[in-house]
C-alpha cells in the first residue's frame, strides 16, 4: 500500500466527500470528516518521510507512463505543502462542529462538511499532480467549493463577496487555461516534467512568453497578490469563521506553490528570471502589497477584515522572498508559507471563538475581552506577535531568513523596507491589544465566558506550534531548505 501513498493522499478525502451524503447525521459526518482529515495528515507525514529519505516519488495514474498519462510527482516541495494543508485542515476541523453550530443552519451541516472535504481534495490535488491540465481541474474543484463555502456566511455580504470571488477566480482559472493551451501548443505535452525539458527549445518564441504571462497573472489572481487582491478581504470577512481559518491558512499557500512550481520547475529559472524582468516586478509588487495592505489594515474596524488585509501583506513578504530567487530567498518564502499558515490558523480560529461567544468581531466589541476570555485573547496576542516577527515566534524565523537572503544579495534598501513593514504590523496588532486589555468592559454588557474547550484545544495547538517552531527551527528549516535546493537542483 505504501507505493500508493501519493494517490491515496488525494483519493481518501475525495471519496469521503460523497460518503458524507450517505451519512447525513451532522455529528457523525463531523467525526467522519475529522478522521478522514487526520488520515490524510498521517499519509502526508509518511510521504514527507519517504521523500526526505529517498527523493522524488513518481506515481503513474492508470498505469500509463508520463507524457501520455497523468502522473503524480511528489518532491520535497509538494510533500511540505501537503503536510501544511492536511495539518491545518485537521486542527481547524477540531473546532468546526462547535463553531458552525452557531453560524450555519443545522440542515446544511452535512453539505458544509462535504464541501470542506472537496475543497481539501482540490488543494491536495493541485499540489500533488505533475500534470498542467490536471492542475486546472483540481483548481476548479477547490474554487467551486470555496465559493459555496464562503456564501454560507450569515451576512448577506457573504453572497456578494462570494460572487466577486467567483468572477475573479474564474477569470484567473481561464487565464491559466489559456496559458496552458499556449504552452501545449508550443511543446505538445502537458506533463510538467516533460514541459520543463521541451520548453527551453522554444523559450525564445513570443508564444511561450505570452503563455508565461497568462499563467502568472492567472495564479496571481488566485493568490490575491497586490493589486489583484480586491476579492480577498470581503471573502475572508464574511465567510464562516471555520472557512476563513482554513482558507487563510491554506488557499493562498497553494497559489504560492503554483507560482513557484511554474516559474521554477516548468519554465525554468533562467527563463523566468533572466530573460524577463520578473525579479524587479515581483519585488515592487510584493513591497507595495506589504505597505498598502498593512496601512489598510490599520484603518479597519472589523477584526476579520483587519487580519485579511494582514494576510495580503504577508503574501507580499512571500513574494519578496520569491523574487530574490536564491536558495535562501526561496527557503524564506517556504518557511513563511509554513509559519503564516500556523499564525493565521491560530488567529482566525481565535476570532472564531470570539464570534462564537459574542457573535461579532467588531473592534469595539473587544473591550475588556482580555479579562473575560483570557486564553483566547492570549492566543490572539501571541499570533499577533508572530505576525510582527518578535523573536521566539515563528514569524521571526521566516523574517530572519528573508533579511538574510536580501542582505546576501546586497539589497539593503529592501531589507530596511521589510523591517519598516513589520513596524506597521505592530500598529494594527497594538490597536487590538489596547482595546482588549486596557479599555474597561462596556457598561451594561453581559459578561462573556471563556471559549469552550473544543475551540481552545485547536487554538492552543497552533499557538504552541507557533512558539515551538519559533525556537526549534530544525525541522521546518531543513525541509524548506531541501525543497528550495531541489528546485534549484532541477533547474540550474
Amino acid at each position: 500500500m505504501l507505493t500508493h501513498l501519493p494517490i491515496l493522499q488525494v483519493i481518501v478525502p475525495l471519496l469521503a466527500a460523497p460518503l458524507c451524503i450517505f451519512l447525513r447525521r451532522p455529528p457523525l459526518v463531523w467525526l467522519f470528516t475529522l478522521i478522514v482529515s487526520s488520515l490524510a495528515f498521517v499519509i502526508s507525514i509518511l510521504l514527507l518521510q519517504q521523500v526526505m529519505a529517498s527523493g522524488t516519488i513518481v506515481y503513474e495514474l492508470g498505469g500509463w507512463d508520463a507524457p501520455w498519462g497523468i502522473e503524480y510527482r511528489i518532491d520535497a516541495l509538494n510533500a511540505f505543502l501537503l503536510l501544511i494543508i492536511t495539518a491545518i485542515s485537521t486542527v481547524v476541523l477540531l473546532a468546526a462542529q462547535t463553531s458552525i453550530s452557531k453560524e450555519i443552519p443545522k440542515e446544511k451541516h452535512m453539505l458544509f462538511y462535504t464541501l470542506y472535504l472537496l475543497s481539501l481534495t482540490g488543494m491536495l490535488g493541485i499540489v500533488a499532480t505533475g500534470d498542467a491540465f490536471n492542475v486546472f481541474v483540481f483548481l476548479e474543484i477547490s474554487s467551486l467549493s470555496a465559493y459555496a463555502l464562503i456564501a454560507l456566511g450569515k451576512d448577506r455580504r457573504a453572497l456578494w463577496a462570494s460572487f466577486q470571488y467567483l468572477i475573479m477566480g474564474t477569470i484567473g482559472a481561464t487565464f491559466i487555461l489559456i496559458g496552458i493551451g499556449l504552452m501545449y501548443q508550443m511543446t505538445g505535452t502537458l506533463n510538467m516534467e516533460d514541459l520543463s525539458t521541451r520548453l527551453p527549445e522554444v523559450a525564445q518564441t513570443r508564444t511561450v512568453f505570452v503563455s508565461f504571462a497568462f499563467v502568472i497573472v492567472g495564479i496571481c489572481l488566485k493568490l490575491a497578490l497586490f493589486p489583484l487582491h480586491l476579492w480577498l478581504p470581503n471573502a475572508y470577512t464574511y465567510a464562516p469563521s471555520i472557512v476563513t481559518a482554513f482558507f487563510a491558512a491554506t488557499a493562498t499557500k497553494v497559489a504560492i506553490y503554483l507560482l513557484i512550481r511554474f516559474s521554477f520547475s516548468v519554465f525554468g529559472l533562467s527563463f523566468s528570471f533572466t530573460t524577463l524582468p520578473l525579479q524587479i516586478l515581483f519585488m515592487v509588487l510584493g513591497l507595495s502589497g506589504i505597505f498598502v495592505a498593512s496601512i489598510a489594515a490599520i484603518y479597519q474596524t472589523n477584526i476579520k477584515t483587519l487580519f485579511a488585509y494582514s494576510s495580503i501583506a504577508q503574501i507580499g513578504y512571500m513574494i519578496v522572498g520569491f523574487s530574490v530567487s536564491t536558495v535562501t530567498g526561496l527557503t524564506a518564502t517556504l518557511l513563511h508559507v509554513f509559519n503564516h499558515a500556523l499564525m493565521k490558523g491560530a488567529l482566525f480560529l481565535a476570532l472564531g471563538a470570539v464570534m462564537y461567544r459574542i457573535g461579532s468581531v467588531q473592534l469595539s466589541q473587544f473591550q475588556g475581552l482580555g479579562r473575560q476570555m483570557p486564553l483566547t485573547m492570549a492566543a490572539i496576542v501571541i499570533g499577533g506577535l508572530s505576525l510582527i516577527g518578535v523573536p521566539l515566534t515563528v514569524g521571526f524565523v521566516s523574517k530572519w531568513y528573508l533579511l538574510m537572503a536580501l542582505i546576501e544579495q546586497g539589497w539593503w534598501p529592501v531589507a530596511v523596507l521589510i523591517v519598516l513593514g513589520s513596524l506597521l504590523a505592530v500598529v494594527y496588532v497594538w490597536r487590538l491589544v489596547e482595546i482588549a486589555y486596557f479599555k474597561p468592559q462596556l457598561v451594561g454588557k453581559e459578561s462573556v465566558k471563556e471559549a469552550p474547550l473544543s475551540f481552545l484545544i485547536p487554538i492552543w495547538i497552533l499557538v504552541m506550534a507557533n512558539i515551538y517552531f519559533g525556537i526549534d527551527t530544525r525541522l521546518s528549516v531543513q525541509v524548506a531548505q531541501a525543497a528550495a535546493q531541489s528546485l534549484f537542483g532541477v533547474s540550474p
Binding site: 466527500a17 506515481y59 500509463w64 464541501l115 490536471n134 501548443q185 505538445g188
Partner: protein, 315 residues
C-alpha cells in the same frame, strides 16, 4: 441590449454556433457536449434564473474606459503571442508530433476502443475525467447549499387541483411530450453505451437524460416530478456516481495495478479496459444526470416556493 432574455438567447445561439464550428474542426464529441451544454442546459438555467431576478437590466453607469484598456492590453498580448504559433492546420506542429501520435496509432491495441477521444478521456487521462465528475458533483452540492428548498407545504389537494388546471392548458404539448420522453431516454442510453464507437459518452448521455426529466418537470409540474424522483434519492445517486468511478480505481489498486489502471480488472487487459471504461462512463452519467436534475429542481423549486409563500402571505 437591455432585455436579458434576448441576451441569454443570443448566448445560447453562440453556444450552438460554436458547436457547429467544432464539428467543422473534427471535434464531434466536443460539439455534442457544447450543443447540449452551451445551447441547452446553461441557457435553460439562465432563463430560470432570469424569471427570478427580473428580465430587464437597469440602466447603470459602468466604467468602460478602464475595462477597455485592460481588454485591449490582454488581447494585444494574445495576438502578439500568436505570431510565433504553428500555422492553423499545420501537420508538423509540435502537438501533432509529440504526445498525440501514440494515442492515434496505439490506442486500438492498448485500449481497444475505436473512438480515440473516449479512450484518452476514460483511460489515458482517466483521472482528469474523475476530476470532472467531482467538479460537477461539487456544483450540485454548491447549488444545494445556496438554494435550499423552502418547503412550506400546502396539502396535496392544492397540488392536484393545480395539476388539473395545468392539464387542460397544455394538452397538446403534454401529449407530444409523452411520446417524446421515452424516445429521449432511449437516445440517452444509446449515447451512453455507444460512446466507445461514435461520439458520445457518460457526460452527454447524462445531460440528455436529465433533459428528459426536466422536460417532464416543466410540463407536469415540479411537485409531481419531485414525487417521482425523491430528493434524497437523487442526492444519493449523485454521490453514487462519483463513488462508482472511485471504486473502479480502488479495485484496480487492490488488484495490483495503479489507480484507475483498468487492465488489471480482468484477465485480458483489453477486456479489463472495456469493463473499466463502461463502468466509469456509467458513473459519470449517473452523477451528471442527478446533478443536472438537482440544479434544475432547486432553481425552479425556489421560484415556486417563493410564489407560494407570497400567496400565503397575501391569503
Amino acid at each position: 441590449m437591455k432585455d436579458l432574455v434576448a441576451v441569454v438567447m443570443l448566448a445560447g445561439i453562440y453556444g450552438l454556433l460554436s458547436a457547429c464550428f467544432f464539428v467543422a474542426m473534427d471535434a464531434v464529441d466536443v460539439a455534442f457536449t457544447e450543443a447540449s451544454v452551451g445551447a441547452g442546459i446553461s441557457t435553460l438555467l439562465m432563463l430560470v434564473a432570469i424569471t427570478m431576478t427580473g428580465r430587464s437590466e437597469q440602466a447603470a453607469r459602468h466604467k468602460p474606459a478602464l475595462a477597455f484598456v485592460v481588454v485591449v492590453i490582454t488581447g494585444g498580448l494574445l495576438i502578439y503571442g500568436t505570431l510565433d504559433m504553428p500555422y492553423f492546420g499545420a501537420v508538423d506542429a509540435p502537438i501533432q508530433v509529440h504526445v498525440a501520435p501514440r494515442y492515434i496509432n496505439d490506442s486500438m491495441q492498448e485500449v481497444g476502443v475505436p473512438n480515440i477521444v473516449t479512450s484518452v478521456l476514460a483511460s489515458y487521462r482517466g483521472f482528469d475525467t474523475f476530476g470532472e465528475a467531482v467538479v460537477i458533483f461539487t456544483a450540485g452540492i454548491g447549488v444545494l447549499t445556496l438554494l435550499p428548498v423552502l418547503r412550506s407545504r400546502k396539502g396535496d389537494d392544492a397540488v392536484e387541483s393545480l395539476n388539473d388546471s395545468m392539464h387542460e392548458q397544455h394538452l397538446i404539448v403534454r401529449i407530444v411530450t409523452k411520446i417524446l420522453i421515452p424516445l429521449i431516454l432511449l437516445f440517452a442510453l444509446y449515447v451512453q453505451f455507444h460512446g466507445d464507437f461514435g461520439p458520445g459518452g457518460g457526460f452527454q448521455a447524462g445531460v440528455i437524460f436529465a433533459a428528459a426529466i426536466i422536460l417532464y418537470a416543466m410540463l407536469f409540474g415540479l411537485e409531481v416530478a419531485r414525487r417521482v424522483i425523491n430528493q434524497t434519492f437523487i442526492q444519493f445517486a449523485a454521490a453514487f456516481g462519483v463513488l462508482l468511478y472511485g471504486s473502479v480505481g480502488l479495485v484496480s489498486l487492490l488488484n495490483g495495478g495503479n489507480f484507475l489502471d483498468y487492465s488489471v480488472l480482468s484477465a485480458d487487459p483489453i477486456a479489463g479496459q472495456h469493463l473499466g471504461i463502461l463502468l466509469i462512463e456509467l458513473g459519470v452519467g449517473c452523477t451528471v444526470t442527478s446533478v443536472m436534475v438537482i440544479i434544475f429542481f432547486h432553481f425552479a423549486g425556489r421560484k415556486e416556493d417563493k410564489q407560494r409563500m407570497k400567496e400565503e402571505e397575501v391569503g
